[in-house]
């Protein structure tokens, strides 16, 4: 799914003062692209994610998903659109505490088809895929943080979304669990051929993205997919034609990543293809998709 942000601005009135959280946001995210939005705390990352997913309305500008203006839709239309096309992964997992793991994964399917036998099968298969086949009937409180986030991943992919939004998916996990969840997220993204937009603080995770958009003080200060819409679109055209690597121009981490991260980021700088190859090699399940690049 193609996501276009046009002159987005988001401002809040607070105690009589106008606080601008986002301004001048322009970019295009092409289908199947994996984009990381990075930046310091308070730079507007999560606000941007909320706008892209249609959870909030921008003060001005617009967001087009698949050519449809989210701002022009009613609340119900946006809900139906999300149910059909969007998946979510949250920093705090946000499983519904009163539902079992299986039921949590079932929610998007039930919203879509109103509960069919096939849905339960599908949800079970997804939980097996994330390694929780034995814990279908456990409640969130009975699962560890890593396990909860894996259930959340299964839920996010349950309705075969065209685009997946992830907000700091590893932010609440230790290094080991974080890495496992990150691996799963990337693998599933490739298996299911979704567009993935993720907000993260984690340089390692950002490094796995094909494109990194960096925000500071509510503005885009760099975009590895291109300096503006035009470049981005060019990149997209390239991606669509199969020559994905060609579009990548900007360095992935112009803000100065930690020294240790630099060698790793060298690879994604080459483009999505290299990125996928690398992970395709690292993960047994991801090989076929990686081969397509």
């Amino acid at each position: 799914m193609r996501i276009i942000a046009e002159n987005l601005e988001q401002a809040y009135e607070s105690a009589g003062r106008r606080l601008v959280a986002l301004r001048d946001i322009n970019f295009t995210i092409e289908p199947y692209e994996f984009v990381a939005i990075v930046g310091p705390s308070g730079s507007g990352k999560t606000t941007l994610l909320g706008l892209l997913a249609g959870l909030d309305r921008p003060s001005s500008g617009r967001v087009l998903l698949d050519g449809r203006d989210l701002g022009a839709m009613s609340e119900d239309e946006r809900a139906a659109f999300r149910a059909a096309n969007v998946g979510f992964v949250f920093q705090t997992f946000q499983l519904i505490p009163t539902l079992t793991a299986l039921e949590n994964v079932l929610v998007p399917l039930e919203l879509k088809h109103d509960g069919q036998r096939a849905d339960a099968e599908r949800a079970r298969a997804l939980l097996e895929r994330v390694g929780l086949g034995e814990r279908l009937d456990h409640y969130p409180a009975q699962l560890s943080g890593g396990e909860q986030q894996r259930v959340a991943l299964a839920r996010a992919f349950a309705n075969e979304p065209a685009v997946l939004f992830a907000d700091e998916p590893t932010g609440n996990l230790d290094a080991e669990n974080g890495a496992a969840v990150a691996d799963l997220l990337v693998e599933l993204n490739r298996e299911r051929r979704t567009t993935l937009v993720l907000v993260t603080h984690d340089p390692k995770l950002a490094a796995r993205a094909g494109r990194v958009i960096r925000l500071e003080g509510g503005r885009i200060v760099s975009d590895s997919g291109g300096a503006g819409g035009a470049v981005s679109r060019a990149s997209a055209a390239g991606a669509a034609s199969g020559a994905r690597a060609g579009g990548a121009v900007a360095p992935a981490n112009p803000g100065g990543a930690p020294a240790g991260a630099a060698p790793e980021e060298g690879a994604p700088a080459g483009g999505l293809a290299a990125d996928e190859t690398r992970f395709g090699g690292a993960s047994a399940g991801g090989a076929p998709e990686g081969g397509a690049a």
Partner: protein, 848 residues
């Protein structure tokens, strides 16, 4: 909307909140149980009354007169008897009765002198069984069991009634239309009518009721008869009672009693609904993130709304069902509680309309109360799933909210009117509920504001935290204040009224209050009686003359003419027709206040016209005021009078009060009797004095006011018992609301307390924090409930009971302290887990 999904989600959520669901259903069940019980009871009573009305009257037609039947009435009685209708005669009067077997004090009892086969309907049973038949054959009496107890007598003893003596032939064990309280108020002695003359008691001025009973099985014939002789009965001052009237009057009276109890039940239901609203409010607050996640996953606002609406409806229906079942069971307890006030045998029966009505009302009202907090669901933005701190826009009053509020107000008003004895009472009740709720909500708001403003910064940690808990997010201040305050209000109001009514009757309040009243003293006995009193060392506190008289004309218009006038506003019949027992004196007494005109001064303004002072209510009924004239018929002599003043009389006191007071001298020479009030401290001396008076003056009646007070006390306690029983449901609902509101914030408390303990707080400190919080809520809520009760008590005393009002500080303070202590206790009991659990277990469980 995705109905299947909503249903499935609602079911899953319910499964996870079993404990909370129980509190929620309990809150509704309590009110519905009370309502179903009372409404079933009401229909049980109606059924029993229509079944027993004939037995209660004991005949098909009764004629009643305050004087011996006049010639035209006697002629009518004879003609009915001649027409083949079974007829019976009776005279009923009060008299001192004592037994010659001992020296116990004589008692004022109701004497029924009977002739003929009355009662024609219903069962009379005596011990021994033949007594009811044989007592008519000689100088024998059948008595209520209480008579034997009062007089220390036994079957076979001799009773002295006036100048006659009767042997006790047996006691009554069953009598149709028996009313529990009446046995306490005036136990009966039945004697044959043939010997009533021998008692020498039916003298001038004594209150006797002459009765005639007829068996006329054709109801239509009774109706025709009553209609045909209507004007004769009016002219001869004879009252008529038929089975249909008994059924109607009794049904109405008992219906009002049941409906009054129904209002208390409704209050319990509404209290429960306050609990429902607060539970839903806290619940929605807690589920905000889940709601946001569902929205993120693509659920429409109305689908999410439906999930929780279905949940609330299911719980409401469940609670109502439990309540209906419990109420049907409780219905079987009510007849025992109310037996003293219900003269019929009640057979409780499952009453489908009452059960169905209770079910529907409970479920609907609960849903309506849940709707308001549920509306917030639609405002939860999916953004909340991304950032917890995002509050979203708060809209105070939109059209939906206004619609729900209007629905709520309409629902409560409709339910009140449906439950109340009449429309105005219903409206008043609904308004009272709304005002009370508003005042309590204002109190809660002030408490929160005050706690925030004057947070005791210097106080210890626990006090600061506890006070801060009052106004922190997700606080339970409003819900708890409403619940506790309302419960305390209801109970304290009942208590305040009871204390005031009883306080009025306090005989031992001071040395100047009389405790013995002697009346029916004939003019020629007055001096001798006075001498007897002085001889025994008793100084009368007051002595008043009673001059019986009837109204002959008002402002020159004869009573008959006023009664015949069907146009315009006519005074009530009894006000024009009754026999007034007037007095004359030159001063106002303690129980009177002048409200219009002036008390007499030296010279009469118009010669030959006596000045009188009227009770203001009687004046209003008669439609007259100061300056108007009344012509009195004093035993055949016409006396012209002019209203000089109006008085307000406190009738609630045990004292001699008069509708009409003449100026002294204006009734000289009129036939009169006397009343003497006295105080005799020693009960034994009081008994001996009564015995001495009766043995010498058999016609003089005496009331030991201490005994009267005991009796009234007993009757009121039994009435209060029934009311308190219903109020129990309110307390129950209030407690459930309290437990519920503590339970619903349990997770919040768990989290906070675990954090505090992790940071090093000891269990004792956590307990202290909770104690401060519950104590603050409990004291403030109970205090405002008590204060409101004091106000409501004043209103009831002023406008309903028409008596002066005294704030019963002791009772109010007791209610306040008790409710506060209870709040802390319940709060502690339900947060025990919060304090005891190891913090890590809590933190793990809460880490979603």
């Amino acid at each position: 909307m995705n109905m299947g999904f909503a249903l499935r989600m609602a079911r899953r959520e319910l499964r996870a909140h079993r404990r909370r669901a129980l509190a929620y259903m309990g809150a509704i069940a309590t009110g519905v149980a009370a309502l179903v019980a009372v409404n079933s009871f009401r229909s049980d009573v109606a059924r029993a009354v229509s079944r027993d009305a004939r037995a209660i009257l004991g005949a098909d037609l009764e004629l009643r007169s305050r004087q011996a039947f006049t010639a035209p009435i006697l002629a009518l009685i004879d003609s009915l008897e001649a027409a083949g209708h079974e007829t019976a005669r009776a005279i009923r009067f009060g008299s001192m009765v004592y037994t010659t077997a001992n020296r116990d004090a004589p008692r004022l009892l109701e004497v029924n002198a009977l002739e003929g086969g009355y009662p024609f309907y219903g069962t009379v049973a005596t011990e021994p069984p033949e007594a009811w038949r044989t007592f008519r054959e000689g100088r024998r009496a059948v008595v209520d069991p209480a008579v034997l107890v009062y007089l220390g007598a036994a079957i076979g003893d001799t009773l002295r009634i006036g100048d006659a003596a009767f042997e006790i032939a047996g006691v009554l064990t069953e009598y149709p239309g028996e009313l529990g309280v009446r046995v306490a108020v005036g136990p009966r002695v039945f004697i044959p009518l043939a010997y009533v003359e021998e008692t020498n008691l039916l003298r001038f001025g004594s209150l006797a009721s002459h009765r005639a009973y007829f068996r006329i099985e054709d109801t239509r014939a009774v109706e025709r008869l009553v209609e045909a002789y209507d004007s004769l009965f009016d002219a001869e001052r004879t009252r008529v009672e038929t089975v249909a009237e008994v059924e109607e009057e009794l049904g109405e009276a008992l219906g009002s009693l049941a409906r009054f109890l129904g209002l208390i039940a409704l209050a319990a239901l509404l209290l429960g609904c306050v609990g429902v609203a607060s539970a839903v409010h806290v619940f929605v607050t807690e589920r905000t993130e889940t709601i946001a996640v569902l929205r993120c996953l693509g659920a429409r606002p109305r689908t999410v709304f439906a999930i929780y609406l279905i949940e609330a409806a299911a719980l409401g229906a469940g609670g109502a069902a439990i309540g209906a079942a419990a109420g049907t069971a409780i219905q079987f307890l009510l007849p025992a509680l109310l037996a003293a006030f219900v003269p019929v045998d009640i057979e409780p029966r499952v009453n489908l309309p009452a059960v169905g009505g209770g079910l529907a009302l409970g479920a609907l009202v609960a849903l309506a109360f849940a709707l308001l907090p549920l509306l917030r669901i639609r405002e939860v933005t999916p953004l909340r799933a991304l950032r917890r701190d995002f509050a979203g826009r708060v809209r105070r009053l939109d059209s939906r909210r206004a619609a729900v509020l209007a629905l709520l107000a309409a629902g409560v008003t409709a339910a009140s009117i449906g439950q109340a004895p009449d429309v105005w009472t219903g409206l008043g009740f609904a308004a009272g509920i709304a005002a009370t709720a508003a005042l309590l909500a204002a109190t809660a708001w002030l408490l929160m504001r005050g706690a925030r403003r004057w947070l005791p910064r210097r106080a210890g940690y626990a006090v600061r935290q506890g006070v801060a808990n009052l106004f922190r997010p997700q606080n339970q201040t409003l819900a708890a204040t409403l619940g506790i305050g309302f419960g305390v209000f209801l109970l304290a109001t009942l208590r305040v009224v009871q204390v005031n009514v009883l306080g009025q009757l306090e005989v031992d309040a001071g040395p100047h209050r009389p405790n013995l009243a002697l009346f029916d003293i004939q003019d020629d006995q007055a001096e001798a009686l006075n001498a007897l009193l002085v001889e025994r060392g008793v100084t009368p506190l007051a002595s008043e003359a009673i001059v019986p008289a009837r109204i002959s004309a008002v402002n020159g218009r004869p009573v008959a003419e006023i009664l015949a006038d069907t146009m315009g506003r006519r005074p009530p019949r009894w006000v024009l027709n009754r026999e007034y027992r007037n007095t004359y004196r030159d001063t106002l007494v303690e129980t009177e206040t002048l409200t219009a005109g002036r008390w007499w001064d030296d010279a009469p303004s118009v010669p030959g016209v006596a000045r009188i002072s009227l009770d203001e209510d009687i004046a209003e009924d008669l439609g007259i005021g100061v300056g108007d004239r009344i012509t009195w018929d004093v035993q055949g002599v016409l006396v012209e009078s002019e209203v000089a003043s109006l008085r307000r009389i406190n009738w609630a006191r045990l004292a001699t009060n008069f509708f009409v007071v003449f100026e002294p001298g204006s009734l000289d020479g009129a036939p009169k009797t006397h009343v003497v009030l006295a105080r005799v401290e020693d009960p034994a001396e009081r008994a001996a004095l009564q015995r001495a008076v009766v043995e010498r003056f058999s016609n003089i009646s005496m009331l030991d006011l201490v005994r009267v007070q005991e009796t009234v006390d007993a009757v009121l306690s039994r009435a209060a018992l029934a009311v308190r029983f219903m109020a129990l449901f309110s307390i129950g609902a209030g407690l459930i609301v309290l437990v519920g509101s503590v339970a619903t914030t349990r997770y919040q408390r768990l989290r906070e307390s675990a954090l505090l303990r992790t940071l090093g707080a000891r269990a004792r400190e956590i307990r202290r924090i909770l104690a401060v919080e519950y104590l603050a809520i409990g004291t403030v809520a109970a205090l405002s409930g008590s204060a409101l009760a004091a106000g409501a008590g004043w209103g009831l005393a002023r406008f309903v009971f028409d008596m002066p009002y005294r704030v019963p500080w002791g009772s109010l303070a007791a209610a306040w302290l008790l409710a506060s202590a209870l709040t802390v206790a319940v709060g502690f009991a339900s947060s025990r887990g919060v304090v005891r659990r190891p913090p890590l277990a809590t933190l793990r469980e809460l880490a979603e």
